[in-house]
């Protein structure tokens, strides 16, 4: 399934499923990275194929790095590459994978199935505490840690980014998630000071 000539529409774009839903900003900022490049492999052969390309694979639920990409090990045979700003590098790997013979794992379609959002802002920790039950204090949850958990009452994968927390979740819940985060930010405001 090579990409065709058609236009891609993601939830927060005009004509997208969450079109019209506000992404909050201020003390809590929610930004949408869903259209940013990423590529995942899952199933038997995935890890071996990626390793054969010279991509160092971290332990499960840890994040590694390869040529500017973040390498998320979500399971033994479930690996996701996030390529914010290094699209060409990712395209190279993706093309190589498409051309390669099996066994090479299978696409996990994370770029289609998961929304990718980033929570940041001055009251980030407070907002995250409301959204997620995990202990995300810096000394407990480091820069290379991955939590596969629930955020805002829905299943999600979350981890730190330089400016906050990145959250991957069911793309069909995008509008809901933006609302849930806005509600939490509202509560944080009410309890200020």
């Amino acid at each position: 399934m090579a990409a065709g000539t058609a236009t891609r529409v993601y939830p927060f774009m005009p004509g997208g499923a969450a079109d019209g839903t506000r992404l909050i900003s201020g003390a809590v900022v929610l930004s949408d990275l869903t259209d940013k490049p990423r590529f995942g492999l899952k199933g038997g052969g995935s890890a071996a194929w990626l390793a054969a390309q010279g991509i160092p694979l971290p332990a499960v639920n840890r994040i590694g790095e390869h040529r500017g990409m973040r390498v998320l090990r979500l399971g033994n045979e479930d690996i996701l590459l996030l390529a914010e700003g290094v699209e060409a590098t990712l395209a190279e790997i993706k093309n190589g994978w498409q051309a390669a013979p099996a066994p090479k794992g299978y696409s996990s379609w994370r770029e289609e199935g998961w929304a990718w959002m980033r929570l940041s802002g001055a009251r980030l920790a407070e907002a995250m505490s409301s959204l997620c039950a995990l202990d995300l204090r810096p000394q407990k949850f480091g820069a290379d840690d991955i939590a596969q958990t629930r955020v805002g009452h829905i299943e999600a994968v979350t981890f730190r980014s330089p400016t906050g927390f990145d959250i991957l979740f069911d793309i069909t819940a995008s509008a809901y998630f933006a609302r849930a985060v806005a509600a939490v930010a509202g509560h944080a405001d009410q309890h200020r000071g």
């Binding site: 939830p11 004509g15 996990s108 379609w109 505490s129 009452h153 793309i171 819940a173 509560h187």
Partner: protein, 951 residues
């Protein structure tokens, strides 16, 4: 006015007067006042009427822990008047009064006490008939015995929940808690300190202590960024693994702490004597709280009952507040005078030793204390402060596994916790003196820090400098009664004694028989006295009697706090905006929003009819993106499906699509869909919208169990589905730019193809729910809007119409296609659906196989069939209406609707197995009770030979 000048009144802001009403009367207080303190400042001492005898009650503890000061707010019943702040215009009223607080018609109950003996409830409400409790007594008691009144029209309030993690949680910010929190934080631990009061300090804020102690602790605390202080926050329970709910007004902090230090303090205990409940009789600490926190003079002429130093300090505080202390009564025998006693005598206060309060008397209607009886004579006074002892605040420690005991040598209630992550500090650990409490906080912190792996020096355990047995009031029932042990439940000494005479000797039974400790205070002021009374009456020790089990919550909590705030979960397909632009009537189906029909609500029926017509005669387009979509990949993919579904998939050719039916282990149908074999090692499987989450979870479960070489991926959100269906569907697809041959021979019914359509990579399956020529186009969701636009454009010359869920529902019903969950229930077997064809007889195993074979041997009792109502039938039964046979229910209607293609109503229904033949007539009971006879028809009402879907 009973208001004292500054510096008394640490909580109030005298520059900000606040007006409110109580029982319809205007009162004025200051910002920071509680309802009770503002009323006391204005001389209003009666706050409520008691539960059973409707006796006037007032401030007892100033902690909000008992029923005495519960009040009704417009939208909140049972508000603790001693803790709830006043606000401008707040309307407060008394609870449990018949009429008004001042003129309570039920006050007469006080004279009929002897007709309400202990156990009255159990003895009386048993009869006379078996249903008397439900029909007669309970409604009366609900009316009579209620505390507050729920306001069903209360405005919405905002509640929320958040999570809090810390190394050490310290509950209680009194001297011990402050000292523990500071020690732990100074060692580098992440510490949370919570206290229910609006400020830190605990007893240091109202007791007679050097103010330097609190200010010293407070300045150390402020220098610690890793110490989070939550004042106005109640720790309302201890749960497994140190999970504790901290309630900060309308916010719940779900807290997980590695170590917990409970510095919950002690609860001052009332004395038991006749009329000990009169307004004007309060605990010594309540008088101190009124004076220091609120600047309220608790009376003008006081008698102080003091069996400990706190009582002597209270007397000195009263003098400072300008209260005339008539006499200090110390029940302990005369001994060496301590410094406090000397100071009091120096101020001219009479101290009477070895005496106690024998009774009190009230003003008219017992509205306030008038005089007390001591040593055979009456003393006039309007205030009696009681300081005779305390009990450790056992609620949280006991929930954390603490055991309550009794130290006979010191006559004190004790709490023992086993070694673990919960520690006690301060008064709750039995420590009396201020410096000992501070040291005990340090000790608890050091213990917790060591468990956390901090290198800290061990702190010695605190041993009190002087161990003096505490005073124990001998409790003797007054001949005339009204000597209350439990104020909430109006229980007197004789009530508890009588319970033991009735054979209820164990504390848990005494509690249930008498209701002692069941009121709002949950035994805070009665448990110790009860244990002593029962011990006396049964000839055992207080330790043997113990107290009743303490369970969370520690205090009342609102349902709003438990519920928190929830945004309604909502899932949208990638085509959501397209539907909205086409004026679709969007409705929620589970979490999904789906188009019901396209057009105005005023012409809904017409729109649905036209949509059906388009599919039957032209071409329609349905968004099927909510369908569950799963990819099964790996060398064992076929074997995996063979074991999960009833049909054969291992031998399914690549490029073919097969129906799949899933059973659970008891042989009931739980899901259906189709499986498209895309490659030898890859299947694309659909599941029903509502069941996919469960199907996916089941697949993961079985995959782990069977250890096949298979990977299961849920693509429900990643892929979108468009169903192009109708006699002209092929023409529309052929008009699109595509590398797929859509001709009948190249792409036959029940096959699948990969390719590109309008520049979009697609997986196309020739399947459908409508019975017409039908293609399902699945594509990555980000490209679905493009594909939709292309199909709409290509379809325009052919009259293509998007159609919604309602049309889809009728189209499938006309074909007799079932909906899992609507036409099936928890026990539906494939045979009952007539789906024997979908169950492989050759496979050695699939989930549910053994069960359906066993169930088949039991014989079939019902069958799902079609029912066709005559054209123009007047009374049509609804879904779930019963199918009767000889008057007995044998089945029910599962789906019903009007078929425009047939011009009549049709239904699917379970009927008796003997009635399944076409032409049988069955009886159905309509909603209005009318019985109608309907003929059974074959499942497919429309195009019974299924010719149309294969053109």
């Amino acid at each position: 006015m009973n208001r004292l000048p500054a510096p008394f009144g640490s909580r109030i802001d005298r520059s900000r007067p606040v007006r409110f009403t109580f029982e319809g009367k205007f009162f004025e207080g200051y910002e920071g006042d509680s309802i009770a303190s503002a009323l006391a400042a204005s001389g209003q001492w009666v706050l409520s009427r008691s539960f059973k005898y409707h006796r006037p009650r007032g401030i007892l503890s100033m902690t909000g822990a008992d029923a005495n000061a519960l009040v009704q707010l417009p939208s909140e019943p049972n508000a603790a008047g001693e803790r709830t702040p006043i606000s401008e215009g707040l309307r407060v009223s008394a609870q449990n009064v018949n009429g008004s607080l001042e003129r309570d018609r039920d006050a007469v109950m006080d004279r009929f006490g002897r007709f309400l003996p202990v156990g009255f409830y159990y003895r009386t409400f048993m009869g006379p008939r078996r249903d008397s409790w439900l029909k007669f007594w309970e409604p009366i008691i609900r009316r009579k015995a209620g505390l507050g009144v729920v306001d069903t029209k209360a405005p919405h309030r905002h509640f929320d929940k958040t999570h809090l993690h810390c190394d050490v949680l310290v509950v209680g910010a009194g001297p011990a808690g402050l000292s523990a929190a500071i020690s732990a934080a100074e060692a580098g631990a992440d510490v949370v300190l919570c206290d229910e009061n609006p400020e830190i300090g605990g007893a240091l804020t109202y007791g007679r202590y050097d103010p330097e102690v609190l200010s010293g602790l407070a300045s150390r605390l402020e220098a610690l960024p890793n110490l989070k202080v939550l004042t106005g926050t109640v720790c309302n329970g201890w749960y497994e693994d140190n999970w504790l709910p901290l309630i900060e007004s309308d916010r719940l902090h779900r807290t997980r702490a590695r170590e917990v230090i409970l510095a919950t303090g002690a609860i001052e205990q009332p004395a038991v004597f006749r009329n000990n409940d009169l307004p004007g009789i309060m605990l010594g600490s309540a008088a101190q709280r009124l004076i220091r926190h609120y600047g309220v003079r608790p009376g003008t002429s006081a008698v102080v009952l003091a069996a400990n130093d706190d009582g002597y300090r209270t007397a000195l505080d009263l003098l400072d507040a300008g209260v005339s202390v008539v006499e200090l009564v110390d029940p302990r025998p005369a001994g060496e005078a301590g410094p406090l006693e000397t100071e009091l005598r120096g101020k001219g206060v009479t101290i009477r030793k070895g005496a106690t309060i024998e009774a009190a008397e009230g003003t008219v209607g017992n509205r306030h204390l008038a005089r007390i009886h001591v040593g055979g004579s009456w003393i006039a006074c309007d205030l009696l402060t009681v300081s005779i002892g305390q009990a450790p605040a056992w609620q949280l420690p006991c929930q954390a596994g603490g055991k309550v005991g009794y130290d006979a040598s010191t006559q004190a209630m004790t709490i023992t916790l086993s070694v673990g992550s919960v520690h006690l500090a301060g008064a709750v650990a039995g420590v009396d003196e201020l410096q000992d409490a501070i040291a005990s906080g340090r000790h608890a912190a050091a213990t917790a820090l060591m468990r956390l792996g901090h290198a800290v020096a061990a702190e010695p355990a605190v041993t009190p400098k002087s161990v003096r047995p505490r005073y124990v009031q001998p409790i003797v029932a007054d001949a005339k009664g009204r000597d209350f042990v439990d104020f909430d439940e109006d229980l007197q000494v004789k009530d508890l004694q009588n319970a033991t005479k009735d054979g209820y000797r164990e504390i848990e039974l005494v509690k249930r028989f008498t209701t002692v400790g069941m009121g709002p205070s949950q035994g805070r002021h009665s448990a110790l006295a009860t244990a002593r009374i029962v011990a006396d009456a049964t000839g055992r020790s207080v330790g043997e009697i113990g107290i009743t089990t303490a369970r969370p919550p520690v205090g009342p909590e609102t349902l709003g706090v438990l519920a928190g705030h929830h945004e309604v979960l909502e899932r949208r397909t990638a085509l959501h905006a397209r539907h909205v632009a086409l004026k679709a009537a969007m409705k929620p189906v589970g979490a999904w929003w789906r188009p019901y029909y396209y057009g105005d609500a005023s012409s809904a029926e017409e729109a649905v009819r036209e949509e059906i017509l388009a599919v039957r005669e032209g071409v329609g387009l349905l968004d099927v993106s909510t369908l569950g979509k799963l990819e099964i990949r790996g060398p064992d993919a076929g074997e995996f499906l063979d074991r999960l579904y009833t049909m054969a998939h291992a031998n399914q050719p690549v490029g073919r699509v097969r129906y799949c039916l899933m059973l659970n282990e008891m042989g009931s149908v739980v899901d259906d869909g189709v499986a498209y074999r895309m490659a030898q090692d890859q299947f694309y499987v659909t599941a029903t919208t509502g069941a996919v989450a469960r199907v996916y979870a089941d697949m993961l479960f079985w995959n782990a169990d069977w250890r096949l070489k298979v990977d299961v991926l849920n693509l429900t959100g990643a892929f979108s589905g468009l169903n192009v269906t109708g006699p002209k569907a092929r023409q529309v697809l052929k008009a699109l730019d595509s590398d797929i041959d859509f001709s009948r021979d190249a792409f036959p019914y029940l096959s699948g193809r990969d390719g590109m359509v309008a520049g979009v990579p697609v997986r196309v399956m020739r399947i459908g729910f409508t019975g017409e020529l039908s293609y399902e186009l699945h594509c990555p969701s980000s490209l679905a809007p493009s594909l939709w636009d292309a199909v709409m454009a290509a379809g325009r010359p052919h009259g293509l119409r998007p159609y919604g869920l309602e049309a889809s529902r009728i189209l499938r019903l006309e074909k007799g296609h079932i909906l899992i969950g609507q036409d099936t229930d928890a026990i539906t077997t494939p045979d009952e659906l007539g789906f024997g064809w979908a169950v492989s007889k050759k496979k050695p195993f699939f989930v549910g196989k053994r069960s359906i074979e066993m169930r088949a041997r039991l014989g079939q009792t019902r069958k799902l069939v079609g029912l066709q109502f005559p054209a123009g039938a007047r009374n049509i039964p609804g879904e779930s209406c019963l199918v009767l046979r000889s008057g007995a229910p044998v089945g029910q209607i599962t789906s019903v609707g009007y078929s425009p293609s047939l011009g009549r109503h049709i239904a699917l229904a379970y009927v008796h197995a003997d009635d399944q033949a076409q032409g049988s007539r069955v009886t159905v009971k309509c909603r209005d009770g009318e019985l109608v006879e309907v003929p059974v028809v074959a499942h497919a009402f429309f195009d019974p030979t299924n010719a149309r879907q294969e053109i």
